[in-house]
Structure formats: structure tokens, C-alpha cells
């Protein structure tokens, strides 16, 4: 007798929440074998688990390590299910470019934001860390992104964020993107000063804010 779709979705979700990569892979394979649609498996299984994890993170019951491990489980699940998705035009997804500004190599916060944004359905182009300021602009233009996300933990590199905003203006695309910033020394005051569209304190807030700014449910 085939296992019910609901049961498999629950296993996917639980597997992510409980950071059990093997369980997620097994459930994902069974799910596909049973003929259920990959899209639902991703949204109602894996992403559901990641959302539960981020609620626990907000409630300070899950910490950075937990979120990272949950995301590891989610990504192995995605590796199994994604190839079975129907062809979707890449224009459908909201795109963002994300990176840690030039001179800074601290990237855990940026990685958490990227994970949560991808979980929420954004297509994130991750430039990594110590990213040359011009690169934010070049990729934003090339990929026609809607969002430019910058992170830094250091005071010596904060100024780079303001420079990127100027470069976006010079490139004539400042109006076409929303600029979102975050990191230890960053504040709303600083965001206002440099003309960023948003400042958020953590990854969960970043997703909420991005959705609000871009009018996404």
C-alpha cells in the first residue's frame, strides 16, 4: 500500500526540523517513487520544516547551529527533488544578489539570510564574502535583480555599503532595486544615513522585510 502523501510530507518536514539528512533523503526518494509532485514536496515538506525551524530560531530555542544543520537537511532534500520540478521560467522568481562587503570575511549571518530567503522562494545569487563593491552592481545589472543585500560585521568596511548605493545610482539602476543591509555594527540610523531601503537584525526579519518591500505574500 502506498504511503500517503501527507505522511511523506510530514517526514520531509520533520527530517529538516530534526536535522536528519538521511531521513530527508530517504523520504524524498520514496516521495518521488510514489509519484507525488516534487513542487509540493519542496514547499509543503522541506520548506515547511525550515519554516518551523526559523520559528524556533525566533523563539530562541533554536540557535545558529541548528538553523545551519536544518538547512543542510533541506538542501540534500532539494538535491533529490529539484531535478523533478517542471520547467519554470526564471523570470517567475524574485531575484536578489547577496554578499559580504569588500574587506570582510565574516559570512555566517549572510549565509543564514541567504538560506531563509531561498526557503521563502527568492532566487539568491550569492557572491560570497569580501566582495568587490562594483561586483554587487555589475551582477545586479546583469541579472536584473530586485534586491541587493549586503552584510558586514566590521566597522572598517561599513562605508562600502554607501559606496555600492552610489555605484547603483551611477549605473542608473538604483530605482530598480531595493537595498537591504545588516550586520553587527549596522543600525537603522546608519541605513537611513546612507540611503538603504531597509535594515534588519536577523535572517527571519530579512525575509519578512523583503517580502513586504517587494509586495510578496
Amino acid at each position: 500500500m502506498a504511503v500517503s502523501k501527507e505522511e511523506l510530507l510530514k517526514r520531509l518536514s520533520d527530517g529538516v526540523l530534526e536535522m536528519e539528512e538521511d531521513d530527508v533523503v530517504e523520504a524524498a526518494k520514496e516521495y518521488l517513487e510514489a509519484g507525488y509532485p516534487a513542487f509540493d514536496g519542496i514547499m509543503e515538506g522541506l520548506v515547511d520544516g525550515m519554516n518551523r525551524a526559523s520559528e524556533l530560531y525566533e523563539a530562541e530555542e533554536y540557535f545558529v547551529t541548528d538553523v545551519l544543520l536544518c538547512s543542510d537537511a533541506m538542501y540534500v532534500g532539494l538535491d533529490v527533488l529539484r531535478p523533478h520540478l517542471p520547467e519554470v521560467s526564471s523570470d517567475a522568481k524574485v531575484k536578489g544578489v547577496i554578499g559580504v562587503v569588500e574587506g570582510d570575511t565574516h559570512d555566517i549571518g549572510k549565509n543564514l539570510v541567504k538560506i531563509m530567503m531561498e526557503t521563502a522562494g527568492f532566487e539568491m545569487i550569492d557572491l560570497g564574502r569580501d566582495v568587490e563593491l562594483q561586483k554587487f552592481v555589475d551582477v545586479a545589472k546583469e541579472e536584473k535583480v530586485d534586491l541587493v543585500c549586503m552584510s558586514t560585521l566590521m566597522t572598517t568596511t561599513m562605508g562600502g555599503m554607501e559606496t555600492v548605493i552610489h555605484l547603483l545610482e551611477e549605473a542608473g539602476i538604483r530605482d530598480q532595486v531595493k537595498v537591504m543591509i545588516g550586520g553587527g555594527p549596522i543600525s537603522q540610523k546608519f541605513a537611513d544615513k546612507i540611503g538603504a531601503d531597509a535594515y534588519t537584525t536577523n535572517a527571519v526579519e530579512a525575509v519578512k522585510c523583503a517580502k513586504k518591500m517587494l509586495n510578496i505574500a
Binding site: M19, F63, V64, T65, L68, L69, D72, G103, D104, T105, H106, I108, N111, D130, M154, T155, T156, T157, G184, P185, S187, K189, F190
Partner: protein, 356 residues
Amino acid sequence: MFRGDEMTSNERMDAFYSGKPYDHSPIMLFIVSNAGRYAGMTHREKRSCAKNQAEAQLKAYERLGQDGLVVEYGLLGIGKACGSITNDPEDSAPAIIKHRLDDISQVSELDLSMVERKNDAWSQLNYEAASICVEKVGKEVGVFATIPGPMTAAGSLIPVEKLLRAMRKQPEEAHRLLRFCTDAAKIVIKEITASGCGPFLSDPIASETLISADTYRKFVAPYTKELMDYAKSIGLGMGYHVCGEANRILCDMVDTGCGTISFDTQVDVETAKKLVGSRVPILGNIDVIDTLLHGTVAQVEAEVKNQLRKGYDSEKGFIISVSCDIPISTPLENIDMIMEAGRKYGKYPLNPENFR
């Protein structure tokens, strides 16, 4: 003796720690990354040789007369000694671009002898810098060297994300790495303090911003306690700082046996006073970003008063201080004002009327 003061810093601190009268609240500043500013040096120049490391501190002290010089062995010292590679920025603290370990299972490859002064130029440089400072001003003021805490040292050997995952998935190896870092820190403490300086432990990565209090208790506290005990065994007390969120680990931090406790803006001085003020002197936490880097001189003055208001009656004493390492481009007048306001409003005996 600093102009205008009635006691040398050493006399002040002796009196402060033994409950005797002193002239004004001690003021300890983390003049580490920005020390070069006092000697017209970029960060690269400052860290290039012992003479410069020392001169930056001496020039800062000459201008400020603060209670303690800080020689920057720094957060990455153990990582660098063992083979992690850092970049070389002109006017910023170096960062690691290639960690020594790719995987936690490689821990056994690490060689403790690489941390020894005779094998590590950076440790030798800082020993010499501390010696110069002690020789020049040691009679009047304390000289300290920053020592990386076990978790931060581990984060300088393996990427922090991998360390976090290992602590959950391969705890034995993670412990092995922390054991190595603890043993390494002991060597550093022993060798650098032979100069006559004291140790100050800084473990930014042990923050609740990254790990749960439970993880801190299992993976950080025991090793930190070992380091505190070690310092005591060679006749030294050691101050302790963890960045970021630390409210739930504050008591655990003091349980390690630290001599003083220092924390970031996420912990309120009043909270610290209630939780641990009866056990150790507490260092204040003037916000280095919003107040010092971006604020006005007037805002700094107001914040010093605010800090005194919150902490002046802490049972084991209150030391005016800052939330973290002072950013390189902090206006020097703002730091001057901490000293001016601290001396004025923190005049002994501390009177709340002075800082209402």
C-alpha cells in the same frame, strides 16, 4: 602619574581592588585596533614590529592616562601560528582567508610547538612590545595582552560554520580542537606574561549570538575555567570578554573564575550588577559604534554619566569601559571625553548627584 590625577593607575587599581579609597573610577579602554591613530600609524604599520605595537600604546596612554595598556596578540594569533593564512590590509585588522583545517578530523595534524614564542614571530613581537611597555610605564600602569579564548582560537583554525556543525555532529573532535586551543593559550599566557604584562581573555565567538547557553556550558566554560585557573597558578588574574548576546551565560562566565567581566551592549550594566556584581568587578559597556564611532562628544559625556548611574554601586566595583574593541576611525575627541567625563563624574567617593 597622569596630569591632574592624584594617584598612578597602579595605586588606583590596588586601592580599588582592596576596597580602599581611590581618586576616580578606573577607566579601562580597549584601545586595540585604533591604537595606531595615536602614533600616526596605519594598522599595518602598528602591527609590523614590536617597537610600533608598543609606541601606539604608549602614545595613547600619554594622551589619555587610561587604566591599562593593551598589547594586541589578538584573536587570530593561535590560528596564525599554526598555519592559518590572513590577509594584510593597510588600515584594518587582518582576517583569515585560509583556515589551517578544512575538516575537524584534521585536528591531530596540529602542532602545539608552533605556538611557542621561539617558533612564532608574532608571539615574539608581542612579547617584546609588552616588555617595552612594561619597562617604560609598568611602574605606574598595568600592561595587558589580549589572549584568544578557546572557541575563538578554534574559529581561527577551522571555519566557524564547520566548527558549529562539528560541535553538534562530531563533538569528540570538537573537544579535541578546544583542548588544543586551551593548551595553546596556556603557552601564550605563560610566555607573554613573562614580560611583566597581565593576560586578558577575549572570546567573541563564544557568544550566545552564535551558540546556545547550553553549548557554552559544554564546550567553552570548562576550558575557560582551566585557563583562569592556569593564570591564577602563575599568580595572575585574567579579565574576560565575550561579544554580543551574553545575558544567559554571564553567571557561567564568572563561574570560570575570571578577575573582571566585560560585555557588549546586549547586556545591560544593571543586569550585570544584579547577576554578578557581588562576585567580580564589572566593566561598563559604552557603545563603541553608536556612541563612540557615530556619536558626538556630548553624547559620550551623557553616556559616561549613564554608565556610572547604572553601575557605580556595584558591590565589587565598577570600571568605566567600552562595549568592544574601539573602531579604527573613532574620533579621538570622543575617547578623550570618556576620560574627561570619567575623571569628573566618577570622582571618589562616587556620588550619584554627580551623574544624575
